[in-house]
């Protein structure tokens, strides 16, 4: 054998870094510590894989997560054992709940110390088990390339999710070298994620949709993850379907299109929830009938035949029984539907019930008039909805918008009209406060020329405010829209509605001066307290292209998010304002 054909000899740490590079990874987000020092040294000795040093491991996971949400590729996190790993737990759970591909590399104490309660030891395999798609512990350094391949394969295929790779320190010792070879593909006998959908079921679904008199298309995060927006849009247009998106699915269908009826569910639009409740056929695509969508399952959409496409069979008929289940990746299933539809062109069975659909749209347009996203303008006070609408104008509706969790998140979802997929980045399933800023950072790092806006509140932003320092170090010019009402707004809203306005621990005293705080971290801070100040402030903020601008915007502290479904009710039972309910 010639010298050239001999595999390169690398340490476990160097193999790990090389494998990440071979997997196409550009950035790793993390924080060093004892158990990962060999890996950090291997990172130092190359330039292909760049490391981003956060200020808290939770932020590293959200950066990786948001990168994945924007790009579709798995984000990579590197943390040390013990507290490094446990600090990553919230971020792993966040990704798990929203099916986001992520590879989390956790250091571990030396193999011979495992189980001895060694310094910075924690059973990360045990801790992460319920919140990962899979986890693996390295037992033999020679297997590192294969395990990295396996981790990415599992994280990114089928229903995506986070994978934890636990690496004891002695697996990465620099002096112990092994032949390096990165596998091209991997096959697992116990895992076959590529279902295309049963053609017979697809045909049945199409026939049901063609015969429908009151159909609705309800699509979720699966369409974003499955990159199937184009197919979804085409099918919706050809079948003349009203389209509603879940919180996770916003942007899959253009919000400015006349067939879009808004988000559905707890804070969904009046028309979307009415359409769902009254539909005769619900076409659910990559959505999971989450409790924040269905309201009381027993009263859910009593007259509907339910077609459900999902890659995860466990999502089908979990909470709501599906009459026509289709297990498959949404993209090939929708493509098959479109091609079956082509074949029916010009034939009688390919015709829609135009009269029924016209009546249905007539009814929908009447529902649109009932609430229509209205909100009250109060003199001298900035309304949060108006702020989001202004941000939409200033960014021409084309920004990546990340959010934290609470009222501001719902206002952003309702009022920033997303026309493109992968632009709305929020923690839907877990509802993680502290997500927004690191998420914006993860997106900005990869799309430096794009406008990245973090919509947050004074409660959420303080959960990861330390990352303003990371932003300075890496020059991440995100725009922070801090909707400051002095209260944990969503908690307050529930206390107003259910606890006679007893604000138990929802008022936050002693808030920092956010403008000075931003300046202390080396950024620009702007305070906005009156409606007149908003426009010039936004103008100035978005003109400062490469700077982080922290807009501390004081809003009406009394505002609630509406519509809001009546707890325990049907989909169409809603509060429309503080004084109106259906």
């Amino acid at each position: 054998m010639s010298q050239q054909n001999q595999p390169e000899m690398l340490s476990g740490g160097a193999m790990l870094v090389r494998a990440l590079h071979d997997e196409g990874v550009e950035y790793v987000y993390g924080y060093p510590g004892g158990a990962v020092l060999h890996i950090y040294d291997a990172l130092f000795q190359q330039n292909d894989v760049k490391h981003v040093l956060v200020r808290h491991e939770q932020a590293a996971t959200h950066m990786a997560d948001a990168y994945a949400r924007a790009s579709g590729k798995a984000g990579v996190v590197l943390v040390t054992s013990g507290p490094g790993a446990t600090n990553a737990v919230t971020g792993i759970a966040t990704a798990y709940m929203d099916s986001i591909p992520m590879v989390v590399i956790c250091g571990q104490v030396m193999s011979h110390l495992i189980g001895d309660d060694a310094f910075q030891e924690t059973d990360m395999m045990g801790i992460s088990r319920p919140i990962v798609k899979h986890n693996m512990s390295v037992r033999n350094p020679a297997e590192i390339p294969m395990m990295v391949k396996k981790a990415f394969y599992i994280a990114q295929s089928g229903r995506p999710g986070p994978v934890v790779l636990d690496i004891p320190k002695d697996m990465t010792i620099p002096s112990q070298k092994f032949p390096y070879d990165y596998p091209k593909d991997i096959k697992l006998r116990s895992y076959n994620p590529n279902a295309k959908g049963h053609p017979g079921q697809i045909k049945k679904a199409l026939q049901t949709l063609l015969a429908a008199k009151k159909p609705v298309l309800y699509s979720g995060g699966g369409v974003i993850l499955g990159r199937a927006s184009d197919e979804l849009t085409e099918l919706a247009r050809r079948l003349n379907l009203p389209v509603t998106n879940t919180l996770m699915g916003l942007g899959a269908y253009p919000a400015s299109d006349p067939q879009f009826i808004g988000m559905l569910g707890m804070h969904g639009s009046f028309e979307a929830n009415q359409v769902m409740h009254n539909a005769d056929v619900i076409f659910a695509v990559g959505a999971r009938f989450d409790d924040r969508v269905t309201n009381a399952t027993k009263k859910f959409c009593p007259n509907a035949t339910i077609i459900h496409i999902d890659i995860d069979p466990a999502s089908i008929s979990k909470t709501i029984n599906a009459h026509i289940p289709i297990v498959g990746l949404v993209k090939p299933v929708l493509q098959e539907m479109l091609s079956q539809l082509d074949k029916l062109q010009g034939k009688a069975e390919g015709k829609l019930d135009q009269v029924a659909l016209a009546n249905w749209w007539n009814q929908i347009n009447q529902w649109r008039e009932v609430h229509g996203g209205r909100y009250q303008q109060r003199a001298e006070l900035l309304m949060p909805q108006a702020v989001i609408e202004a941000v939409h104008r200033h960014t021409k509706g084309d920004a990546y918008v990340t959010s934290d969790v609470g009222q501001h998140q719902m206002f952003a979802a309702q009022y920033y009209k997303f026309d493109k997929p992968n632009r709305w980045i929020n923690s839907g399933g877990l509802g993680t406060m502290g997500f927004g800023l690191p998420a914006a950072m993860g997106v900005k790092l990869h799309y430096p020329d794009a406008e990245v806006v973090c919509v947050t509140g004074e409660g959420s932003i303080q959960m990861n405010i330390q990352e303003l320092s990371t932003c300075k170090q890496y020059g991440l010019g995100v725009k922070i829209i801090n909707l400051n009402n002095g209260y944990l707004g969503m908690v307050k809203q529930w206390q107003d509605m259910n606890y006679d306005s007893r604000y138990s621990s929802s008022y936050m005293d002693s808030l920092p001066d956010f403008v000075k705080l931003a300046e202390a971290y080396g950024h620009v801070g702007i305070r906005v307290t009156t409606p007149e100040e908003l426009e010039p402030a936004l103008e100035r903020a978005f003109a400062l292209k490469d700077r982080l601008v922290f807009l501390d915007i004081h809003i009406d502290p009394k505002e609630h998010v509406y519509p809001m479904q009546v707890p325990g009710g049907a989909m169409n039972e809603m509060f429309l304002s503080k004084t109106e309910r259906t």
């Binding site: 045990g126 088990r129 899979h134 116990s190 466990a314």
Partner: protein, 163 residues
Amino acid sequence: MRHIIAVLLENESGALARVVGLFAQRGYNIDSLTVAATEDPTLSRLTLVTRGDDQVIEQITKQLHKLIEVVKLVDLSDNAHIERELMMVKVKASGDQREEVKRCADIFRAQIIDVSPTTYTIQVVGTSDKLEAFIQALCNTQILEVVRTGVSGISRGERSLAL
């Protein structure tokens, strides 16, 4: 409804913990659980007895399928199957009791596998119902200890759970 689910699992460390964790995490019942390696040392076979309505059982099988290390599984209760469980019972046996316990064991085709001057240890193999019945039959005897393996199951006829 009681269901017996047989699972072929990669014989890897942590795989069993994932199965058990799934049941705990999602609030499913486990009546019994047995596990051991198969003739192929890379595979373990697990028999799980659980209870739930059809919807719950469907979720259980789907969620089990999602575990990366689960290779194949079957709900044995869907078709004709055989189930067996082994039980060892240690009872007080002295004087007249010794004969009576032995007769009872014979009726159940159980075997006395250990004897001391004051005790018998009896082995019974059968369905869970038979084991329960045996314990009932020993009602006049002082039971010192009971240990059961949990159910193992296999399909009847040519149907088999294999790769």
